[in-house]
Structures are given as structure tokens and as C-alpha cells.
Amino acid sequence: MIERLLFPASGSCDQKGVKPSFAESRGCAESYNPIRKYFAVASETSMQSAEQTREERHDPKRWLERHGDVLYRYALMHMGNPAAAEDAVQETLIAAWRGHDGFQGTASERSWLFGILRHKINDYFRTESRWALLDEHSEEPDFDAADDIEAELFTPEGRWRIRPGGWGGDPLDHYEQQQFWQVFRDCLAHLPQRLREGFMMREVQEEEVARICTVLTITENHLYVLLHRARLRMRLCLESNWFQGDRNT
């Protein structure tokens, strides 16, 4: 279970066509009302029960139903192209079916499929001669290197230097989604590699904190810091490259 504040996705402050600063000056601050929401994060391991028959475990259509959407999101965010992401999911499931004997059940079914998907995404970038996000031998500075994103965004007293802009309603309701995902992909590409891996594992794969820490060999407190930095960076990048100017007119 994780706990978080839930904000109205597009409440009265964010109606289409209402300039945020205008809306806010009309008393949206008073009407703001965070609702606390609890929800369960589906645990991968719980999806895989010991009672499953071998046929059930070896059924690519069942994998599609259970994991297709999350595999697709992961692929889309790395590839920036819905059609390519759909293909990657399909190839992943076929490869999984062919190599299923290699699955010993030590990893969760979903982690196993993600492992195959990552290879497919790498193949895509290799054949397209495009720069892969998933390059394991990246020369990027280690994520431990001094990361001054907080110093960049906040004054020494802790105030915003660059104040978040108003984005309006849900961006995906109003824009060309394909273009958005290309921008998203580029923003993701600018994250240091392990920051990106931790962020995607947490936000897309919804892995549990303990497992991500094991994979990245870091402590929980370190992971919290990494995720915070990744969120600051992604938000800033999306705003600079996608939302700026458009939402406030």
C-alpha cells in the first residue's frame, strides 16, 4: 500500500481555456481540497500462484491480458512511438513463448517478461541506428555524482527559483499523443541511467521499494532521494519542452 495525496485531476482551477493565474485569483486556493486516497499496488508475486497449471503459465495470450498494458507503457516511454511499442510487446510475447523453458519461476513472471522486452527495445534502437536509452555501458556520470537539480530549482532558503507553470487540464486529452511521447522519451533519455532505471521500475513497473534497492544495490533512503531527483527533472523537462507557452494562452 502506498499513500499519497490525490488532487482533482482537472478541477475548477484547471478548466479548459481558463488561464491558471486568472482561475487562481478567483479563489481556487480556497476551494482546493486534497483527498487522501489509499490504493493497493498490485504485487507481481501475488499474480503468480503456485496452483497455476503448466498450460496456464505457458500461455502467451494470458501474458498479454495480464502484462500487455504495462509492457506497452514501458516500451512507449522508451521508444516514443506507439506502433513500435506495440510491435515490441508482440515480439516479446512470442520470444517468451519460445524461450519459456528458460523461465524457472525464480523471477516473477512480469520481471521475466520485462527482461525480454528490454532486449527487444535495444534491438530496435540497434536496427534503427538510433540512440538507445538502455545502453548498459553508458558513459554517463554515475548517479551518485553531485546532482544539483535541487540547487538549480530552489534558492538556499528553499523557495522555487523556477516556479512550476500551470499545465491546465490533462495534457493527453488535448494534444497529439505521439508527439508528446517523443518529448517524454527525450526527457527520459536525459536522466542519468540509474536514475532512469529506478524511476521506471518504480513508476511504470510498480516494483516494490525493497526489490528496486536490491537491483540497483542502494539503500532505501538513497532510492527516495533518486526518485525525488528524477521527478523534479522529468517535471521540469516536460514543462520546458512541452507545456511552456501553450497552457497559459
Partner: protein, 84 residues
């Protein structure tokens, strides 16, 4: 955290509370800050949007998932290639 949290404190809290419980006192201070601070309120809303979009629980009609057409295509391909 003593007294009123700064915007930097609030941004940290908003992130951390997605991974772990935050003490009641800090939550209270966070809410008080958000009532008064447009920038942090925006940040909070945008983080939530990012989270919901990435994990496919976005409230929008177009939550990011495989379309029915795409699923059907993939199911068809699986039948052909795997005979299942």
C-alpha cells in the same frame, strides 16, 4: 522538520510519500503549505499526473494502454506464431 516547511521540503515530501508513510505532523504542515502556495500545489498536481499516466491509472479516457485493436492484432499474431 521544524516550523513551516519550505517549498524544497514540500517537494521532497511529496515525492517521498509515494514510497513510504509520512508522519502525521509533517502531513499537516504539508497541507498547510499547499493551501497557501500556488507553485507547490501545481508541483503536487503535476507529480500526480505523471504518476497516474505512467502506471496507467490516469483518469482520462485515453489512459495509456494497448488499444483493443492492437490487442486483437497481437492475439492474432500469437495464434499464428505459437499455435496457441
Amino acid at each position: 522538520m521544524m516550523g513551516m516547511p519550505s517549498c524544497r521540503d514540500v517537494a521532497r515530501l511529496l515525492s517521498h510519500m509515494q514510497e513510504r508513510p509520512v508522519p502525521a505532523g509533517e502531513r499537516l504542515a504539508l497541507r498547510a503549505h499547499l493551501m497557501l502556495c500556488t507553485s507547490c500545489r501545481r508541483y503536487a498536481r503535476q507529480l500526480n499526473w505523471l504518476h497516474d499516466t505512467l502506471n496507467g491509472t490516469g483518469g482520462q479516457a485515453d489512459a495509456v494502454r494497448l488499444s483493443d485493436n492492437a490487442k486483437e492484432r497481437i492475439r492474432h499474431a500469437l495464434s499464428e506464431k505459437t499455435g496457441s
